[in-house]
């Protein structure tokens, strides 16, 4: 009978562990402990631990819960974040103060880093000063937006979003709200200038070939037609100037017929005549 409370004590935590969805923090806490132990034990990589210690001079406060939500583009947390190049990226940072003192959110700065080495900065975006006071048990939302450069399209970057804040006692804290590799993608828009001109060029080529083909065909046709015509219609030298006499009034025609046909004059003769006849 004395074992009954003992059994209960064993059963209760097991039940809690299996039932609660948030059993992860417990596990992670244990892991952290393990890491600490490893660090203490294994002193051969002391340099690394020193660096970590330097980094951890300012860290997140335990009384503050931060969250991040990308509103533009909409991001599925399971996949890697894909940011369209040249388009606005907007995100919200949630800040919950669970301490007994005020917290002051100072700045947010965002940077692109080399994905292999996050100490290597590629681009810093503006550091925005919010200077927002968050009272105990209050929450605040911060909005931040930036535009990744067009020239970064198709490359992965380490996106680091850093939140700096301090408590009412003047202790500064610093938390990386987002620190992951993101992919900058190029949006293929429906109407790109380059493609439009490509299509125009292609259309011009097609028209050119059509016109060329038509010319070629017509020249062949004309050749054959002209040969046949020459064979059939014989005009001779009756009407060399192709004058349609139907249109000319009869009187005029008679006049033309009556007038003696002047022999063809050469310019020389004409000149001689003129010099004799007049003095112009």
């Amino acid at each position: 009978m004395r074992n009954l409370p003992l059994l209960l004590l064993v059963a209760l935590p097991a039940v809690i562990l299996t039932m609660s969805p948030g059993s992860i923090p417990v596990v992670s806490a244990q892991e952290d402990d393990n890491d600490d132990i490893v660090d203490v034990e294994g002193e051969e990589n002391s340099i690394v631990t020193d660096e970590e210690a330097e980094d951890e001079i300012v860290t997140a406060s335990k009384d503050v819960i931060t969250s991040i939500l990308f509103t533009e583009p909409i991001h599925n947390p399971l996949s890697t974040l894909e940011l369209p190049a040249g388009k606005l990226v907007e995100f919200l940072i949630g800040f919950t103060n669970k301490a007994e003192v005020d917290y002051i959110i100072e700045t947010v700065n965002t940077s692109f880093r080399y994905p292999m080495d996050f100490n290597f900065y590629i681009q810093n975006f503006s550091t925005i000063a919010y200077n927002k006071v968050v009272k105990p048990n209050h929450e605040a939302t911060l909005a931040y937006s930036f535009i990744p450069s067009d020239s970064f399209a198709g490359r992965p970057f380490g996106l680091n979003i850093n939140l700096n804040y301090r408590d009412a006692n003047g202790l500064s804290f610093n938390e990386a709200v987002f620190n992951e590799t993101v992919q900058i993608i190029e949006l293929d828009e429906g109407l790109d200038g380059e493609t439009v001109f490509l299509y125009i060029f292609l259309a011009a080529c097609v028209i050119l070939t059509l016109v060329g083909g038509q010319q070629l065909l017509s020249s062949f046709g004309r050749k054959s037609r002209s040969t046949t015509r020459k064979a059939t219609i014989e005009l001779g030298t009756v009407n060399p100037n192709n004058v349609d006499y139907n249109w000319i009034p009869k009187e005029t025609l008679n006049m033309i017929n009556k007038s003696p046909k002047t022999p063809k004059q050469s310019p020389k003769q004409r000149k001689v005549k003129r010099s004799i006849g007049s003095d112009d």
Binding site: L9, P13, L17, S20, N137, E139, L142
Partner: protein
């Protein structure tokens, strides 16, 4: 034996206490978690013209937020005319992983600089939450309302200006036309007379 069992019991007690503590902390973490964005939807901010303010409530928690109340006291009636939408809106329920938007239209009464500050949101994390959670929305920040005159100079359709321009260009077009027309009529008369003959 007795001492040993006591030791074991004590250890289990500690383990149980730790777990309960962890669970309690987790308990604090779950429930609704709201992010509230306040956005100004205008490209140009002009006095006596509509300014569209959009509030978007994102629930990133794992429970529905209840009795969400958005209150914006930053538009004081001296400087702003309230056109439409509620400055004190209440949304009964925001389910997890969804968002709700609320829009308010105001008109600034005078030009000049204005600092858009945050709206306040009250909500219940869970149904049995003991107190209301207070949250501040994001701040759109400092903005400048241009005067209507300035805006009109850039964007009006300039009807009066074009009418004036038309009147001013009229003589230079009308005088040559009148001259041409009179001469044309004169010649037409002449040609008619000749035809009659």
């Amino acid at each position: 034996m007795f001492i040993g069992s006591m030791k074991v019991q004590f250890l289990f007690c500690i383990a149980a206490a730790l777990l309960v503590a962890a669970y309690g902390e987790e308990d604090d973490n779950d429930g609704a978690r709201l992010l509230v964005a306040k956005l100004i939807h205008n490209k140009y901010l002009v006095e006596n013209m509509d300014v569209i303010v959009k509030y978007t409530v994102y629930n990133t928690g794992n429970a529905a937020a209840l009795e969400v109340e958005i209150t914006d006291n930053s538009f004081d009636p001296d400087n702003f005319a309230h056109m439409s939408g509620e400055l004190n809106a209440r949304i009964d329920r925001v389910p997890p992983n969804t968002n709700v938007t609320h829009t308010v239209v105001v008109r600034p009464r005078k030009p000049g600089y204005f600092n858009f500050t945050s709206a306040e949101v009250l909500y219940r994390r869970k149904e049995d939450a003991p107190r209301l959670q207070v949250a501040d929305s994001s701040e759109p920040g400092l903005a400048y309302f241009t005067s209507y005159k300035e805006y009109d100079k850039k964007f009006s359709s300039h009807v009066v200006d074009w009418a004036a321009f038309a009147v001013m260009t009229l003589p230079s077009l009308a005088i040559p036309f009148a001259l041409w027309f009179s001469s044309k009529r004169k010649y037409e008369k002449l040609s008619r007379n000749t035809k009659k003959h």
